[in-house]
Symmetry: D3
Subunit: 140 residues, 6 copies
């Protein structure tokens, strides 16, 4: 069983602001992150699978790239994330970005035989979040 990872980047703006909290609560929770600011986001998508003996890979990294570009990178790059349909209803934290990106890419990846096992979203090289599927019964 192999894991394949592909790394992407997109340059976007966002702000952290929650309708579930008042002004004081937002300031207290988010500090400077309540301002509209931006990042070169790092996105790493990891899938697992069994190698096809004919080709020697279990998924073509080009297929993985095409799916993630079309559904995530192109809609997010050079945009204000808070305005995007895919992030409506949630604060644009790394945790929520990872969850929504998982929802968006899991099915098209699965349709091409790739089992999504991890989505990593990083705002900088100093901090990042990973959303990870629990190991399957077969131990992966």
């Amino acid at each position: 069983m192999h894991l394949l990872t592909r790394r992407f980047s997109f340059s976007s703006s966002h702000r952290l602001q929650s309708i579930a909290m008042d002004a004081n609560g937002n300031t207290c929770a988010y500090g400077l992150c309540e301002n509209i600011h931006g990042h070169n986001y790092r996105l790493e998508v990891t899938v697992s699978g069994a190698v096809d003996p004919a080709t020697g890979f279990f998924c073509n990294v080009m297929d993985l790239s095409a799916i993630v570009r079309e559904t995530v990178v192109d809609p997010c790059d050079h945009r204000y994330l808070n305005d995007l349909p895919m992030f409506q209803g949630v604060v644009t934290t790394m945790e929520n970005l990872a969850s929504r990106i998982w929802q968006v890419i899991e099915e098209p990846l699965s349709a091409r035989g790739m089992r999504l096992v991890e989505v990593l979203v990083g705002e900088t090289d100093e901090h990042w979040v990973r959303l990870r599927r629990p190991p399957a019964a077969d131990g992966l």
Copy 2:
């Protein structure tokens, strides 16, 4: 003659939009960069000087850091650059950021004995701009 460089980072949003052009001109010149987006900006400041034999350095890197943090990094970090006083009247391209940052830091650096020779501003690890002082008569 030595050159000392210190690297900084700030996470900001901006958009490229020029009042000198109409809507078509802006779209044509800037494309997606006309949207509000963001970067983890890379800023590298290089100064030259002669080593003080007593201390073994010609400027304390802490002095350089303090000046640049106070005048550039703190005002820019987690902000929308187009709204900042220091970038009024110019489009927030890398070229213009470098020029304005130069204007802001040259004098305080000089007051501490550091001759500013280069300001590098990068939006990503793939592209950046350097503003550089012509070599002095002494060949630096």
Copy 3:
């Protein structure tokens, strides 16, 4: 379930020398590492948790940073690690640094609702050690 990672760095000196071995044993085990030398240590701390729907994150990365800075980075940075109270009684290998750092940060992180799942200590970009909590029954 999300994993949040924060990366730190500290510039310290150390030497590998064990009182459990004689001079020959130390030379044989550690070679050049028996000399006092140094590194820009890389430290990555990973915690897990459940996202708070109000804020959109399960812990504020600022809280995590503050705890690790106060208990590890500030005491270690620009110091000789072998002299520090937190590393008494052990050889300052990456393995032992990871274990002691785990002991120091686990409780304060837990008190803020963060479950420590991995400590990574690297001496260079070419080699590092990770201390990892076994996956919990819920599969994390």
Copy 4:
């Protein structure tokens, strides 16, 4: 239980071409990768073990390095991978490189008390494959 990782690099050429497919199949599966091209391959080897209280490490990173250099890096560096004995019978995808490298290094590492838990092979900084041993019953 600790994990130790050591990173290596080798500069090699390869091409993706499968005898299990005809010309059209190869072109369709591999595209430009069917041409002889090359990479600075990234190889990361991770082993697990219990720390020896006398030395403070569970394996000397020098032992790990020597084994991987002798069996993998030296035979592969500055070579055409498709011609090497260790990759005969397989297409030189990252997946197959990882599998063969695992077979080559597992026993010598084990003979020195290191349990191999992961082999990472990356063609670029943007995509890589990991072959990972399922967690042991003790939860590692």
Copy 5:
């Protein structure tokens, strides 16, 4: 006067072999580099110019990218460099790659108002070559 730099990468194979030397001479000069091997080449192109007040940049990084992609990156990526028309008659050292790439891109860049001042070609992150235009009379 500003300098703009754009970074590119291409994954290619090559070998160092000179018709000006016999077999012994080649082995002596190139060692392992005489074998067909490969790299993820790093290419950095730097141009200079004066900022257009209307747009705030002196050349659009997209124009620079398009020119270099079309004339260098696309023809070189996933190819055996020794077979390419643009490198006929020279040994594919970093020095010669830089010279030929300079010849290929200087005119189209100039036609778009960009003065080429440096081409950097690196085989790895540990060694690289720069071909640089002497500073102009105006001191750049």
Copy 6:
């Protein structure tokens, strides 16, 4: 005219302490850097020359590497820099390291036909010093 750069690393300890100042002066100038601490030093050596048409390079990067390893990297790696003969009489700042390394490598490089044009010494990825030869009359 080409510039060739080779990057090296060494892991060493040092402290900043000047006999030209009293205790207060040292504390004031160096702060925490007066403690014995350490770094993974970055060293980049740049030489210039004219390409030999027979070989296609003007100096073999292997020659450059061998000289710098023998005279600088091996004596410094895993050592306490303040104790080394090559740094006696100076405070071990980046500025002074660069000057002494220049003195040590310039002649052996010159004897192999390489003109030393820059020595870069960095304590971290965030700050570094460059010692640079003034451009020659031929404009390099």
